[in-house]
Amino acid sequence: MSNNLRFKTSKFIDETYRVSFKFNNKTYFGFKGDTLASALLANGIHLVGRSFKYHRPRGIMTSGSEEPNAIIQLHDNSSRTEPNVRATEVEIYEGLVASSQNCWPSVNFDVGGINNLLSPILPAGFYYKTFMWPASFWEKYEYFIRKSAGLGKSPKVADPDIYEHNYIHCDVLVIGAGISGIMAAKIAAKNGFKTLLVDEKSYLGGSSIYDNSEFSKINNQLTCSWLEKEINEISKLENLEIKIRTSVAAYHGYNFLLARESLTDHLPINQRDKKVRHRLLKIRAKKVITATGSIERPLIFDNNDRPGILLSSAIKKYIDLYGVACGENNILFTNNDTAYETAMSLIQRGIKINAIIDNREQVDSKICYEVEKNNIKIYKGFSVVDTYGYRRINKISIMKLSKDGQTVIGDKTKLNCDCLGLSGGWTPAVHLFTQSGGKLKFREEDQVFIPDVYPSDQISIGSCNGDFGLEEVIKNTLSSLKKFLNIDNSEYKTVEIISVLNQSKRNIWLLPSDKSIGKTKSFVDYQNDATSKDIKLALREGFRSIEHVKRYTTTGMGTDQGKLGNMHALGIISETAGTKMGEHGTTTFRPPYTPLTFGTIVGRNVGEFFDIFRRTPIHDWHVKNNAEFENVGQWKRAWYYPKENENMHQAVQRESKAARDSAGILDASTLGKIDIQGTDASEFLNRVYTNAWSKLAVGKCRYGLMLNEDGMVYDDGVTTRLGENHYIMTTTTGGAANVLGKLEDYLQTEWPELDVYLSSVTDHYATISVCGPNSKKIVSKVIPDLDFSDEMFPHMSFKNAKIGNIKCRVMRISFTGEQSYEINIQANFGKSVWERCMDAGKDFNITPYGTETMHLLRAEKGFIIVGQDTDATLTPIDLQMDWIVSKKKYDFIGKRSLYRSDTIREDRKQLVGLLTENPEEVLEEGAQIVSDVKKSPIEMLGHVTSSYYSPNLKKSIALGVLKSGKNMLGQKLIIPMENKNINVIVADPVFLDKEGKKLNAKL
């Protein structure tokens, strides 16, 4: 460790606690309290990465979440690896492993550095312009571009950490625990507001907590001492909850905010097991106080990106908070007083400052004289025009600025340094404010955007509101809080402030150079390697809106969203285009403020909790009997039951054959069931189904088709009349919730006069369907008391019955074309009744079948599946189901649409059957139907919707939709596939037992 860079003066660093960590495979030491950045700097390391496009060496630039350069990969090749982490935010712990990203083979020698030499041919929009032509080549280019432009590596194995989501409700949320945030939290809590104070850092107090300057005092105490007492006091307040390491990611409307609380990232890996890593806080606050502070601006000049160039405020923080000197020969470059505070911090510890370069001609505040007194040369009215040194800055050259600041004049002077601090003034951190929908205004005097119109009950205080001086911050915080919280007592009776900083500033967005702009590299967005030259090029090419310039040059498009450079981009645009700041818009800051891991976003919803799934009451039986499952909506449905070495095809063929030859059994519990009661129930069904219901006798069942108001088929199912004013409707499995919603909608909004009550009973009943020529014998054994004779219990009727003491409903309805009985029983008896059926069916080879066989059996009969054979573009007429559309009924949902000019067209796509010329050839569902493959482009006439090999018909069958299909019966068409054309013949969609003899067949 380079001892001369560490100063044993900081109370934030525990020097008794040494921490070892690895960076780029080398072991280093730091202390507890260090960030990775401060520990690296203490070891004399500035170069930590390569830039994105030109692969230029880059160093640590800042000391916080705004860091654009020091983006590293943590724990490479481990399950906990994480890319794009800011070294300035990582608190070091024993065993930390970090590495540079975006460089190969190493950060010191990088092959991509060739891009820097090629940079004259890599201007803004280069990729778009060069690689987009010819369009078909993009895929080839992309491979190489992606390979050379890496932004870290994603983990390859499951994340071992636990993440949580929490809801928080509070009266007042204070974001940012700097001096104004601390005061606000205290005032709010002491006035009875339930308050939450959050800060992204590991400590409270912001930059004031290490402000030990004699030049700014509160009540005659050092700012840091005064603030420490305040923090001590608020930590005891009952009404106040304080969360550190908590970064607000998003500020949505109605004061709904998302924040990430980091709980274990600062702990050694072996102490993280079974602990929650991050908590995503979903905060609903009545009032929000934003005190997010401000971010120092860099200055934009040629080669302003070398390692060793930092923000001046970062240099101050590294020495004051971490006791680390960033360099031994420092130069500060500024356009305002801030850099002089940094100078005083360095002077106090005897760290050498070679010079201060100040854009201003007049430098006259007390702190500047104080710095000058220490024999530090101040170059007033000068600007840095270039820097030197490849892996670390070693020299700068400076020139005098012209009066208007547009050019540099006189001789060039070279000055040695190993660290250059930049201060271009401050940018209020308005990111969260704008996310919430707030409107900004531009303040000319110091060229900042500040909050103007608040969209919700919120306020910005402190430097994020554009108050930069200590006196201003405290005074304005107190007065605006009184108003905002509507209180008299501010808790701060007398606050006396001494502050000697002067707010004068000479703002030049792009500093002039002695070279032509084409020969300079003045970086505006460090992370994305966007330079002032790129922005000017975009303007020359006609881009004006900041949103367009941003995308064309990629300025502000990095993981840091351009926290440092966006203002300069706006400034350069307005200067070049000769317009007012903000006239071309300000960039939109989008959530998250700092990146979130996917783990944080999904929380506990991983693995089996990723999505909800529903199981039928008979599910365990299916599992035990080797079923494969398919997802239908949220349901897990038995798909098929393979025996021994059967594949799916073999299992389905066996199941289908058994169902028609003897008996099959299906778990139909997932079908939607809606209980409908009320004196107007019949009238209601008349209005929602296409067919008539009034005359359906009690105890009878009827198939119904439901349309949308546009005439397209929406759902179908059998509805049974249980009593005079009582029906039970079944819906498709996937459509159940939507059908109920639609029916409720009509009842509540269009027909509130109807006396009808709906309730979903899908989960209340298990539904077991026994079908096949032997089905009657089987159900008779299960329910011996019920008369199953065709006379007493004909097709499409229903009976109440009992199995033991348990009431059940039995419907004789069929979706297979076979004789079929559906037993509906209270869900918790479902499994045992299923087992009884299996027992009773033993002698009849009763065969459980899944959804695949069900689909095959109904396809043989030409029964549609809504959502498979239909897609919301087919009317019942298109489906050749004219028979179910009542001509007599005055109205039903969708009726009027059935004779719109479009729905009566003859050449609409219509449902047909398809038979392959070769009966062994099974079509692919979704395949196109054409008549002529030689024509170009080939006209698509329709597509295959369902396709199976039928073991009962011993041939391939398919359903499809086909233009004018009704009139094409018997025609030969072609299904073109990747390597062959399949000939098909248009057929009747009913392939088996068109007369319906099987429904009443006796074995």
Binding site: H252, G253, Y254, F256, R284, G437, P455, E709, D710, G741, E744, D745, Q748, T749, E750, P752, Y890, D891, K895, R896, S897, R900, S901
Partner: protein
């Protein structure tokens, strides 16, 4: 995310609700009497205003009641909520 004051339940999170398009479009009593154009007007034509808009909302994960909302789509301010069949309390 909005906080919506359901007329039946009170203030709840937006995630409990479902938006249901423009409000105060009454289903014609005699659809069969309408021309294609008149029916299309009812069926397809919806306003999409930047500004104050009358909307239908459903408290789908709550009381499941439909109600109306007046919302300024430019800033998402909810001006009023009221029950189906009631007259809008604001213009």
């Amino acid at each position: 995310m909005f906080l919506i004051n359901c007329p039946f339940c009170g203030e709840r999170e937006q995630s409990e609700f479902k938006a249901g398009g423009e409000a105060h479009i009454v289903r014609p009593k005699q659809p069969t009497e309408l021309s294609d154009d008149e029916w299309a007007e009812y069926l397809f034509m919806r306003k999409n205003i930047k500004g104050v808009q009358f909307e239908r909302w459903n408290h789908i994960h709550g009381c499941r009641k439909w109600f109306n909302m007046v919302r300024d789509t430019s800033n998402d301010q909810i001006k009023a909520v009221y029950k189906m069949g009631e007259k809008p309390p604001v213009k």
